[in-house]
């Protein structure tokens, strides 16, 4: 068994060998993408519910695609087109879902801890597709997969995460996963967005961007949520870009082989300059492709898929 629990709620709750096991399976799925027939009918007759209580485009599409490539039956259930509204407790929703006898639940919810709560009350597997500012484990896994494709073993590698760490579930999942695999993680961003208390998670907090990226092997540049407190937590896009934006100038100071991740969607010329976003250092489309593979791997493993049955061929 690669995964020890029935759910994937965060990278905090996965051990290093589980993470590596999932990535191994993901790389085999990734190899299938280049074949003319990309579907693997492993999940035929099984039902996966995508429950998105918060708007999401990329993550939802990536999950759907992963499920379709595994031939699962899919039900999409989102806040906008359901009776779910503020005031109904998550328990009510969970009991409704349980009554429908589903095999797997993919959940995106604005409340931290909500995926964990659903996993406790439901018998089916739950995959956290982002719970508030807490964790986004599939994003963390796809980021790590992308890094490992270029760097191999991450032990001793330096990864700098830049942006609104306080509100970022991507940051937390990256921190848990990367530190477990032995990477050295630095957090950087405006002091209003990077709580110093996070150093207790075994990372370095550095408020000066130049120092934070000087010897980095990887930059993971987070999306700034402009709707969230521009004017109060930071003065505005211009100042943000000047102090923490990844510009051509910053890129010139990087190690020659260093590369840049971004979870998308990008605010061009805010957290990342347009020319960097289109430049040779970014690996954003690899992230997107790896995202589907990672999600396929998790769904496959959680539904009891045998890692050996996939054939040991291509290692991505």
């Amino acid at each position: 068994m690669i995964l020890k629990n029935k759910d994937v709620l965060g990278l905090e709750s996965l051990e290093a060998d589980e993470i590596l096991g999932v990535l191994e399976i993901a790389s085999r799925f990734r190899a299938v993408f280049d074949r003319p027939v990309r579907n693997v009918p492993i999940m035929r007759g099984r039902t996966v519910v995508n429950f998105f209580h918060e708007p999401s485009t990329r993550t939802r599409i990536s999950f759907e695609l992963a499920e379709k490539r595994l031939s699962a039956d899919i039900v999409n259930f989102s806040a906008a087109n359901s009776s779910f509204k503020k005031g109904e407790t998550l328990r009510d929703t969970a009991e409704n879902l349980a009554a429908m006898k589903i095999d797997m639940l993919v959940v995106r919810h604005s409340s931290p801890g909500s995926a964990r709560y659903l996993a406790q009350v439901l018998d089916c597997s739950v995959i956290n597709a982002g719970d508030g500012a807490h964790e986004h484990p599939t994003q963390g896994l796809l980021d790590i997969m992308t890094m490992r494709q270029r760097l191999g073993d991450l032990r001793g590698r330096k990864v700098t995460i830049i942006g609104d760490i306080a509100h970022s579930r991507v940051a937390r999942s990256n921190i848990w996963g990367l530190t477990k695999l032995g990477a050295e993680v630095t957090l950087c961003g405006p002091p209003t967005m990077v709580p110093g208390a996070l150093e207790r998670m075994g990372v370095v907090v550095e408020y000066d961007l130049h120092r934070a990226v000087a010897d980095a092997d990887v930059l993971n540049v987070l999306r700034i949520q402009l709707e969230r407190g521009a004017g109060k937590t930071f003065p505005g896009n211009r100042e943000y870009h000047r102090m923490y934006g990844i510009t051509e100038d910053i890129v010139r100071g990087l190690k020659p082989e260093a590369f840049i991740l971004h979870p998308g969607p990008m605010n061009r010329d805010v957290e990342i300059a347009g020319e960097v976003a289109d430049g040779p250092r970014q690996v954003i489309l690899d992230q997107v492709a790896n995202g589907v593979a990672v999600r396929m791997a998790l769904i496959y493993l959680l539904s009891g898929g045998d890692p050996g049955a996939l054939g040991g061929s291509d290692k991505g």
């Binding site: 407790t89 998550l90 604005s110 931290p112 801890g113 709560y117 508030g132 709580p195 208390a197």
Partner: protein, 448 residues
């Protein structure tokens, strides 16, 4: 005459008890003679009176009925959470004979008619003395003063907008001026909402790790400081509710040294639990002020031990199971406390060596009575016979069905605590008896 729990006589002796008096538990066994709801005689040894029914205290501690100066009984308006009757029963069960209710009901207790309503409902329940506080401002909106004089005449023992701070400093100063004339405290819910900014737990490592918005200590500290300066300027009696930070303890200590008329209370959860308890996102650890850092917990406990904080108050805040089933960030603030307060005190303050049992009981009887100027909280001749028989060694596990409160939102569910009330008496009449602690079986359970 034989003692019978079924029919409490008008005159009786409580014998074979360790008496609490003046912050100490007597080493020698003593007795108390109760007659027509008053204490006729109290002392060491044997009563030397024949013919009276004798309640054998079996070596339990006989203490004045506990006094909780901060409870939310939710009536009127949120009777699904608690009523004055169910809250009174929960109080009796916890060893309490007097409680002070907060005015943040729906509607708020902001005029004398509402004050009288709470007093009357308390008397109807008849299980403990219910002393209402009134709101500082009409509708708790922080705009217009209430009619304090008339409300005091109707039975209000203090004023507070608890649940929310009084943002308008001038209004707070004016309330303190009236309070000075009327000789009642203004109770401060010390919080600066402009600093909090939508937080749901203490701002620190755990809030950062869990991805939950934090409530900075500076919010409580600065609001405590402001209200103390207003008390200094006006001479009014300021009482700081639910102190939770080391900073606030220090600010209160300095103000007391300066002679400012300030008193303070702390809750059992703030002297026993820290913010790491939120790690599983259980809303049973969501309250305002929030559970803070271990050093704050220590400072609050030390403040209680050395007297900077005057008393223990529960901030008993019932919520239905449904409301506590919302996710942590959506759930309401507050936990119940009446039925666990004594046990949490014994477990976290006495057993850990912060203070002795006598001091703990002082903080739950004489001291809150003193803050409010109430003639209760002492076992002395002529006093009203409000008392409780406590077993400080009784070990029990807190379960949802342990509670007499209408709500079960306790932070201590599943925890094993030490200390329980065996029986509680109001004006000499039994209001609660725990048959596990004080069984019918007359055989002595404990050594002499």
């Amino acid at each position: 005459m034989q003692w019978s729990w079924k029919r409490i006589p008008a005159e009786y002796l409580v014998a074979n008890v360790k008496l609490y008096q003046g912050g100490k538990i007597a080493r020698r066994k003593g007795f108390m003679h109760v007659k027509k709801g008053r204490i006729e005689q109290v002392g060491a040894g044997e009563a030397g009176r024949e013919g009276l029914p004798v309640l054998d205290g079996r070596g339990l501690v006989c203490a004045p009925g506990l006094i909780d100066m901060h409870v939310h009984f939710r009536e009127p308006g949120q009777e699904e959470k608690e009523t004055i009757a169910t809250g009174s029963l929960a109080a009796a069960c916890g060893g309490f004979t007097s409680v002070v209710t907060m005015p943040n009901t729906e509607p708020a207790i902001d005029h004398s008619g509402m004050v009288r309503y709470v007093v009357d409902r308390g008397k109807e329940a008849g299980l403990c003395r219910v002393f209402p506080t009134g709101a500082i401002s009409k509708g708790r909106r922080g705009e217009q003063l209430c009619e304090y004089g008339e409300m005091v005449s109707a039975g209000a023992v203090g004023f507070t907008d608890d649940g929310s701070p009084v943002t308008d400093g001038n209004l707070m100063a004016n309330a303190l001026k009236f309070a000075r004339v009327l000789d009642v405290p203004i109770i401060s819910h010390a919080e600066d909402l402009s600093i909090i900014g939508g937080g749901v737990m203490h701002a620190g490592y755990w809030s950062a790790r869990l991805g939950l918005p934090g409530m900075a200590r500076a919010s409580e500290d600065s609001a405590t400081f402001r209200d103390i300066e207003l008390a200094r300027a006006t001479g009014g009696h300021l009482h700081i509710a639910h102190v939770s930070t080391r900073g606030a303890v220090d600010i209160i200590r300095r103000a007391k040294q300066d002679g400012v008329r300030v008193t303070a209370e702390a809750t059992p959860h703030h002297f026993s639990l820290d913010h790491a308890r939120c790690r599983d996102y259980s809303p049973l650890f969501k309250m305002n002020p929030p559970l803070r850092e271990p050093e704050d917990v220590e400072a609050v406990a030390a403040g209680l031990a050395d007297g900077v904080i005057d008393c223990i108050a529960t901030d008993h805040a019932p919520h239905t199971a449904t409301q506590k089933e919302y996710q942590f960030d959506q759930a309401p603030f507050g936990v119940i406390g009446l039925e666990t307060a004594f046990a949490v005190g014994v477990t976290y303050l006495v057993k850990s060596g912060v203070m002795d049992l006598g001091r703990l009981l002082e903080l739950m009887t004489e001291r809150p009575a003193g803050v409010l100027g109430l003639p209760y909280g002492r076992l002395e001749e002529g006093a009203v016979a409000d008392f409780t028989l406590l077993d400080p060694d009784f070990t029990w596990t807190v379960r949802a069905d342990s509670f007499r409160s209408r709500s079960r939102n306790s932070s201590y569910l599943g925890e094993t605590l030490t200390g329980k009330a065996g029986a509680t008496f109001l004006r000499g009449r039994l209001t609660w008896r725990d048959e596990e602690v004080l069984a019918d079986d007359p055989a002595p359970r404990r050594g002499a």
